[in-house]
Each structure stands twice: as C-alpha cells, then as structure tokens.
C-alpha cells in the first residue's frame, strides 16, 4: 500500500490533479482509494459525480455519542464493528473507492475519536495498492485524523510567488507534523514565458520539482460548460504529461 497526499494552497489545482492522477492510476489497472479531506465543499465529489452524506465525521459523531450515552454492550459492539462501519461509508465504484472525511461537528475536540478512526482508516487503506488523499485541510489535520505516515507528499503550486512560498511552508509543516518518505512539487498552470524564472525560484527555495502542467484550455472550457473532467479528451497533452509525473512518483514510492 502506498499513500500519496496532494497538498497546496487553495485553488492551485489539488483536486484537479488528484482526479487526473487517480484516472491515470486506474488506467494502469489499479483500484485506488481516494480520500476527500476537503472539510467544506467537496470538489472531488463533484468531479466524480457523487453525492454522499456518509462521512467519517458522521461516524465520529456516532462514536462520541456512544461514548457519552451508550451502555457497555454498545461500546463493545462499536469496538468490534467500527472497521465495518467505516468500510460501509466508503463509496465503491468499479474503478475506485471514495472515502469522504467531512466537516467537523462537535463540542470539544475528542481527540481520541480521531485516533480511533485514524487507526481504522489505516487498517482499511492497507487493502489498497494506492491511496490518494486530496488534502484541502492542513497537514496537521490529516495527520491527526486520517493517516500518520505518507509515502509521497505531492505539493501543487501555481506560478505565483505566494503559492511557491506556501509550498515551502507546507514542506516544513509536513516535516513537523507527519512522516513522509519523499516529496515533489508540481507547478500547475505554468505559462511557458515564466518557466525559466520559476525553475530558478524552485532551486533557490530548495524544492524538488517533479513536473509541470500548463494552463489547459480544455479544462477551462469544460468548467465553463459545466461539464465534468471525465470529458477531458484523452488526446489532451496534460494527460500524457501527468502520466509521466505519475511514473516518477510510483518509482520514487517503490524505491523508498
């Protein structure tokens, strides 16, 4: 099992990249587990054309309720069945599985409930070859409530200085809060005219570049027409660019 976490400043293209990487991994014949850790509006669910109310956060509420009001047998029952309950909240399609973390909803932080669910998620993740997390939420929260260790931290940045600075901060924060074995940066929506300057900047900031994706007009068009990314023509060169990136990531993950 290999875990890939996709992180970056809001709006840089994390969810888009998560989706396209997942497609590529599916095309390689794997069935990945996608974890949507966007606590607010889930773009990933929209891209996949899925709507669900079954979130990990809802289960957490149930855990807290049983811990508060349940009797002994309910608690034993919960301990014995929690893995199944979480498994049931995963949406399973032919090509992939999707787990939605959801929005925190409770008085108090009940940290041990995060620990419990994280243990379960780690256990379930073990059944998949690849797990891809769309980390809209910060690294700290991913570590606390989703998984403790990550095989590859994929930082998405756009061509702006601010976004690159965020990338540096994310790398630092990730070092502090979580275990990751390797990392790399994708510069998304890159304009050719900026390429040189950005590559230099990455070097200066000591960030490993793993690949670049240009501004893709087909993506913008789909967005404008209200269509899903699944309608992206397979001839679009961003798909082959991304496939090369996935190649590298898979190699790096298997080496580490």
């Amino acid at each position: 099992m290999k875990i890939l976490a996709v992180v970056g400043k809001g709006g840089v293209g994390k969810t888009t990249m998560t989706y396209l990487i997942a497609q590529d991994i599916i095309n390689r014949g794997f069935h990945p587990l996608l974890i949507d850790a966007d606590p607010t509006m889930s773009h990933l669910m929209r891209l996949l054309g899925i709507k669900t109310e079954n979130t990990i956060e809802n289960i957490r509420q149930g855990v807290i309720r049983i811990a508060t009001m349940g009797d002994k047998s309910e608690k034993i029952n919960l301990a014995q069945n929690i893995d199944e309950v979480v498994s049931d909240c995963i949406i399973k399609s032919v090509d992939y599985s999707l787990m939605v973390i959801g929005q925190p909803q409770s008085a108090g932080c009940f940290c041990p409930s995060n620990t419990l669910l994280r243990n379960v998620i780690e256990n379930i993740s073990d059944e998949y070859e690849y797990v891809i997390i769309d980390c809209e939420a910060g690294m700290e929260q991913i570590h606390r409530s989703v998984v403790r260790s990550i095989d590859f931290l994929l930082i998405i940045s756009d061509s702006s200085l601010r976004s690159l600075e965020t990338a540096v901060k994310i790398k630092k924060a990730a070092k502090k809060y979580t275990k990751f074995k390797d990392y790399g940066v994708i510069v998304n929506r890159l304009r050719q005219t900026h390429k040189k300057a950005i590559l230099e900047m990455l070097k200066k900031k000591d960030l490993n570049l793993i690949g670049t994706i240009r501004e893709v007009s087909e993506i913008t068009n789909l967005e404008l027409e209200g269509k899903s990314l699944s309608d992206l023509p397979t001839s679009s060169d961003c798909i082959s660019d991304l496939s090369q990136i996935v190649d590298k990531i898979i190699k790096l993950m298997n080496n580490s």
Binding site: I64, A67, A107, P112
Partner: protein, 270 residues
Amino acid sequence: MNELDEIRTIIEESKLKYKNYQVWDLASTENFNLEQAVSELPFNIGKGVWKGILLNDDVKLNLGGKHALTSANVLCINSSDVIHNFRISLIGPDVLEISKKTVDFAMMVLIGGKKIEKSVLNKLKRTIYLSNEIDGLSLRSISRKFWYQISNILYDKQVSFKHIGIAFIALYLQEFEDIIESIEVVFIIDDEDAILKLIDLEPKIKKIYSEAFKDKIWKYAKQRDDCDFDWECAVCDYQSICNEIRNIIKLRENKITKLKDKNEDISGCR
C-alpha cells in the same frame, strides 16, 4: 494603558458607535438577591446540569463560530473598586432580537479581589470555558477555535444575555465566593472592530495567566494524545468521554490481535 483600561476603551468606543446597548446594574436594584435571581432564571445552572451535545439542528444561535469571531476572557484585578460589581453590559442586540444563526461574539468577565493569587488564576479562567454548567448553553470547539451555542430549547425559554450574565456571575461566586469582591460581565455582539481588538488583547491577558499555567500545561502535554488544544484540554469537561473512547480503542486493538492469532492458528493447521 493597562489591560483593564484597554478593555474599557474598547467597550466605550463600541457603545458610542452602536448606541445599541443595555446595562443591567443588578446591585442598584432594590433588595437584590443573587440567590433569588438565580432561582428565577429560565434554565438550571450547576455542575453537570447540561450533558447534551448540540447537533446542527438543535442549535438556534451560534455566539461566535468556525467562520465568525469569538473572544471570551477573564481579567482579574487585584483591587475591587475598579470593577462595577454585579453589572452586566450588553452592546448590540439581545438574544431574541438576533435573526442570524451566527454572530460575532465577545464576552469579558472582569473580576476584582485583593485576595486573588496566582495559584487560582487558572481555575478562575476555567469557568468561562465551562460547557456543562448552564442548561442549554453549549461550548463548541475545533482546533483552537471555540464558540458558544444556544439551543432551540434555551431560546424558546426567552433567554436574555442578562440571564446568561447572572448565570456566569453565580457560577463564579459559587466557587470563589471568598476571593471575589466584585464581578462584572460584558457581552459584545457583532461589532467586528471591537471584537478584533479584544482578540488582539488576548495574548496580553494570556501572559498574565501563562506563568501560573506553565506547569499544568507541561504536565498535560505529556499525557495528551494528538491533541491540538493548548491547555484547554486540561480544563475540558469531556475528559471522561475521551477516556471512554480510549477504552474503545483498546477493545478494538484486542480484537485485532485476537483475529491475527486466530489466523495464525489456522495457517498452522494446514
């Protein structure tokens, strides 16, 4: 300017700007008796009266929130005459006049007493983070943000900030009667400017407490598992629930190791 002066200035500016304010000077009402005022509250107060967890549908009003400003603080002064004893001030609309589901919210409890010592500061601060002593008023928190929630039931009892103020005063006096000489409560609703200023003031006030807290924070930090609360955990009312959940974690782990053993048994048979 000291912290009290700064708070007073923020309050006065807010009053001037909004003109919508009320002051209940309980001590100046004839024959005021706190015990009686408490018995006339439309809700119960005291240890453990409120055990519920409010889910979204049960909430009428969020005082502060995930996407709103919240500030709640206690300032202790070693002299009693600068605090208006038994005064509750409200700047902005009262509970029943609020039509939104969430408002920016600040609450300041000002306490005066010559006998207040460093060692009780932490306990004094704890009381405003109580989440189970006012029936229907809940405290919610997610990673370092916290806010209060008024349940539908509490709202339907026509609750006012005056009641909530009395409740906090009574809860304080219940526990610290011998050291509190004067106590005053201020609420500010939906004045972003003023609340931001109070939030800015928090670190300064926190500093007063931090010395007294240091040991406790450190002690707690050692035993907590994966908690991102600073020291709030140490004053959290849900610790017993967290312990229950820890038991559930253990039960689950036992089950998993048993399963593993069993699988090994089976493979051994073959």
